[in-house]
Symmetry: C2
Subunit: 163 residues, 2 copies
DNA sequence: CAAAATAATATGCATTTGCAATTATAAATC
DNA sequence: GATTTATAATTGCAAATGCATATTATTTTG
């Protein structure tokens, strides 16, 4: 391969260009590469279960934080609101989630996961756990925890909502 | 918020469930959240320049490693090969890249970035650098470097190609 | 408290995407 | 060395996506 080598002097310029940093030192690039594989691998497992990425993400979030307004769920699940709306149509008609009007604000629809929904996610979870384990293979616990700590800071830095 | 708390007692399972780990401790979740924002923010900047995510990713990779076969470029750029094929149609007709048959293997088309292509990427780079800086705001250099080191290990663990 | 601005969700529609099939070339096998 | 198998790239097509908009409800403002 012919990747440009990193320069010896790593001085504080206004900002380095991508060619100077190098793809393999540019965190967003590496993260896109890793999550591209993670999501593609997971998608393979989902198709057998009749799930798509938006549907799976909604279920995964709801399995941890139930009864969310759709707009919040869209943020947590990293799915466009309109895409999520349609994914929820399918999940609801398959009985994996249920829509319930918010009693305090009738603009809001809250989404709850059903037992069937939890069961569907349970079926997928072994695959998720396997890919997750593969990702951190030979990476010590301490390093993984430091990594997660940095991720949490990054999310705080970049997010546009309070959560 | 109403995140479920971990149960007090749980029998020794082969692996924890997502609810036990919690979204904010699950690295793939955090990474999807962060990259979702990063990519959405960047997309905003790209539209003004007539770029899309696949087109921008192809250019970004080529600015570092030029003259790649399309299939390799698809891996580097994290874009489906068929999507990339069409993105290259547009980039080529806009003069940002050029297709050249590989002399050794006539199945292969190699893609080169043009000066115009580099110029287009240069126009976007300040925005990329700004979002990148925002992401790592208040995160010390040492921590960022450790983070990147972990990312590199993770990519090695999960990737399906040699690069 | 009426009017205007904001917010939550759903939907119409054009574009984009990804899978599968196609075409063309190279490598492997017998 | 002819035939089978594998690889690279493109393309047809159905499905998914995202933007803009519509609809309904709430909050803010004058």
């Amino acid at each position: 391969m012919n990747e440009a080598k990193a320069p010896e002097t790593e001085k504080a310029e206004p900002f380095q260009r991508l060619g100077e940093i190098g793809l393999s030192n540019f965190a967003p690039y590496l993260m896109n590469r890793i999550m591209g594989r993670y999501n593609a691998d997971l998608r393979q497992e989902m198709t057998g279960l009749g799930l798509t990425t938006p549907k799976m993400r909604a279920l995964a979030v709801l399995s941890v934080i139930d009864d969310l307004p759709i707009s919040d769920l869209a943020v947590y699940a990293v799915v466009e609101q309109s895409t999520l709306s349609r994914a929820l149509d399918q999940l609801a008609s398959d009985g994996l989630v249920r829509r319930a009007p918010d009693p305090n604000d009738s603009r809001v629809t809250r989404i709850g996961i059903t037992d069937t929904g939890r069961a569907a996610l349970d079926q997928l979870w072994p695959s998720m756990a396997r890919i997750y384990a593969q990702m951190f293979k030979d990476i010590p616990d301490e390093e993984r925890q430091a990594f997660v700590t940095t991720l949490q800071k990054m999310l705080k830095n970049i997010r546009k909502h309070d959560f």
